[in-house]
């Protein structure tokens, strides 16, 4: 893999990307498409972002996974284009975009993740959003906004632990654990007790053993926090 070029010198590299982008447009099988997307993603070049985002709507899961990997590797640079994609009409693309945003952890995605974690009809999207809410990179927010944003996350994740689908509850529990760690660092510790209480409730009341077990593990991790 070549070194990642920096964002401010895209003009010369477009020529390198052009054949890779053409290979995606001309791919004649699902497998060829996956391989072509993988090659473009491996460039880790910001100019690949529009093409990688277009691939999310191609109804080719293998290619979408490769595109998400590429977008996640590009991190913050992908976020504005991904947020724009969410306004699109393609539901499949939207689900993949939310997945990428969850993995990137940029708090500019907070509002969409809050809406999605509790309101999306597809359980895999609610699952990804719940994971994302726990793993946001809070340092990217202005300090005075962190507390309010974490409270919003906390509320959405607590709601997520009551989702009808076990896997969403599981992801919400994992999200609560990650959020507890972040809150501990950010000194908003009064919320740790709320998280512990909710995890305790899940251990006692959830009807899925896997979710109970995940909540037990989260409780152990939260109890070990230096408070």
């Amino acid at each position: 893999m070549k070194d990642s070029p920096s964002v401010d010198q895209p003009s010369s590299v477009n020529e390198d990307l052009a054949p890779l982008i053409r290979a995606i447009e001309e791919a004649d099988s699902k497998g060829a498409m996956v391989a072509a997307v993988g090659r473009l993603a491996a460039q880790r070049h910001p100019d690949a972002i529009p093409t990688l985002i277009r691939v999310l709507g191609y109804n080719n899961p293998g290619a979408a996974v490769a595109a998400v990997d590429g977008l996640v590797a590009l991190g913050e640079a992908s976020v504005p284009a991904l947020l724009e994609e969410l306004d699109g009409y393609n539901y499949g693309a939207r689900a993949w975009a939310i997945r990428a945003l969850s993995l990137i952890g940029d708090p500019r995605a907070l509002d969409i993740l809050l809406d999605t974690a509790t309101g999306d009809f597809a359980l895999s999207v609610r699952r990804a959003a719940a994971k994302g809410l726990g793993h946001l990179n809070w340092d990217l927010l202005p300090p005075e906004q962190v507390s309010a944003a974490q409270v919003q996350s906390l509320q959405a994740l607590i709601q997520g632990t009551e989702d009808p689908e076990w896997v969403v509850r599981y992801a919400a529990v994992a999200g609560l654990q990650a959020l507890a760690l972040a809150i501990c660092e950010a000194l908003h510790r009064e919320y740790i007790a709320t998280i512990q209480e909710q995890l305790q409730r899940v251990v006692q009341q959830d009807d899925s053993l896997a979710v109970q077990a995940r909540a037990r593990l989260a409780l152990i991790a939260v109890q070990a926090l230096p408070l």
């Binding site: 899961p61 293998g62 009809f121 359980l123 895999s124 699952r127 990804a128 719940a130 994971k131 009551e162 009808p164 076990w166 896997v167 599981y170 992801a171 994992a174 251990v203 009807d207 899925s208 053993l209 896997a210 109970q212 077990a213 995940r214 037990r216 593990l217 152990i220």
Partner: protein, 277 residues
Amino acid sequence: METEAQQLVNAQGESLTVEQAVANLRQTEDTGLRYYAAWWLGRFRVAQPDAVDALIQALQDESDRAPDGGYPLRRNAARALGKLGQSCAVDPLIQCLACDDYYVRESAAHALGALGDDQAIPALLNLLAGGAEAATPVEGKPHLVQPYNAILEALGCLGAQSAVDDIRPFLGHPVAQVQNAAARAMYQLTGDDSYCQRLMERLQEPNLQLRRSAMMDLGAIGYLPAAEPIAATLAENSLKLIALQGVLEAHLQEIRFPDADLTPEAQRVLALMDELL
């Protein structure tokens, strides 16, 4: 989670209560409403007597007919009854194994496996008559003469030791999914790991459908050594998570969680699942 069922909304955004769902299932005007109600009662595990009665009656429905002559409502009702754990459904489901709709027989076999009543064993074994040679495709249909996967799986779940000699020949059936189902049942009935090795090898298949089905089989039998191979399989995270849930929960039951502490094995599977969210 029965209280949640009260608050849930259906795909059209309308909320449905248990009373409405039972009423929708009992009315005969609108087949779509009945079909949806049968699914809904199973989905939200509504096991109260009037719901179970209505579902059992729906197993004999004549009004909802598919273009191919099948009985869509019966199929959904059988699936729902498999989730409700009510032994009064066993006999009516055994009757369904004689239905001329393949998919009703398939749903009934699944449900009987889930209900765990060994009374169903003779009727299930009956459908294996003629052995693997008789298990041929039906012309013009995408399936074999019997729902062999569901039958083999049910016999495995029911601990049908007496069926081992009838199941073994299906390990050599030309359809890979049938082989998988036979391997899965043989492992459940004999505890012999070599049957799971067959399923583990399937996780490397070039064909996605086969990888998926082997993964779900390994999850359903809760084979702990399969956890890492499942996590590494080229397939959707959603399915890997379901398969790993099966592996994890079998282990948790064995160690008597939540009374016992999490073992290192359980924590290992949880870590694999976290990666897939």
